[in-house]
Symmetry: C2
Subunit: 137 residues, 2 copies
DNA sequence: TGTTTTATGCAACATTGTTTCATCTTGTAA
DNA sequence: TTACAAGATGAAACAATGTTGCATAAAACA
């Protein structure tokens, strides 16, 4: 299995540290995208600054991706396995619940291909669904 | 014509004030979505707090809508006419330029209808395109 | 013109994010 | 195992962003 924190770090040539292991474990145990604040409140005594840097590193190296949800807070979710430093491949939609504010990756829903407007060059797209999630409805 | 700042305010039963007129004029003259900061730098001497409240009021009353662009900054754009306090109707995509960071409403591109995942109830969706805009390519 | 309602500006505060630097830890090689 | 170099962490200081309460000013209306 490749879904242990230790393996994920090794796969991306990142050093094993206490903070990184804890943060990865939180992501592995979570079904939803997490904001900086969410993570901070799950870990006992982690430095704010270190967490910012950890998330930044994880994103750059392809371990996690930003979950665009139209909300005011930036959230991250684990990449599904095929991402690397050079190519993020998160072509799925995200669902944002208006009630509880949680954000979920909808791996089964791919971004539909759209046509770029005249003169614009397209490099990617986000699709965000909003409404009420399973737990809230 | 209904596209003067004064008319827009009247249509939404909002008082005519200096700040509101200035902010609306900036939106009317802009082809792109504007962040709080963008607006602040276009107006000479406006109070930060007042601007926050003005934008909030405008959004609640249906004059402007949030332009979700996946960027770190919240941006707003003028609604196209059919919005009100009770129903925002901005079912178009937004384009975010990776180069200059500007965000444009793509009125001609409507959000495709998607199927909600099992157990989720859909109330709306955002579609964000990213790439290079006309001026930058 | 006077009164009521609403908007504004200021102060103070809360949250979020960044930079610099000294210290500690990890991985590696002797 | 130990020593070393690269990288990660934590603290302080700062910058940007956003909110709340309150006194004052302006707009709408009788």
């Amino acid at each position: 299995m490749t879904t242990s924190a230790l393996n994920i770090l090794a796969q991306h040539s990142l050093r094993k540290t206490a903070v990184r292991m804890q943060v990865l474990d939180i992501f592995l145990q979570s079904r939803e995208a997490l904001s900086h604040n969410d993570i901070e409140s799950h870990i006992t005594q982690v430095d704010r600054i270190t967490l910012y840097r950890t998330l930044k590193t994880f994103e750059e190296k392809g371990l996690i991706h930003k979950a665009i949800d139209g909300g005011e807070k930036l959230k991250y979710a684990l990449c599904s396995g095929h991402c690397s430093e050079h190519a993020h491949e998160d072509h799925h939609a995200h669902f944002h619940c208006d009630q509880c504010g949680k954000t979920f990756c909808i791996e089964t829903l791919h971004i539909p291909s759209v046509q770029a407007p005249e003169g614009f060059q397209l490099s990617g797209a986000y699709l965000v669904l909003k409404g009420t999630c399973v737990s809230c409805s």
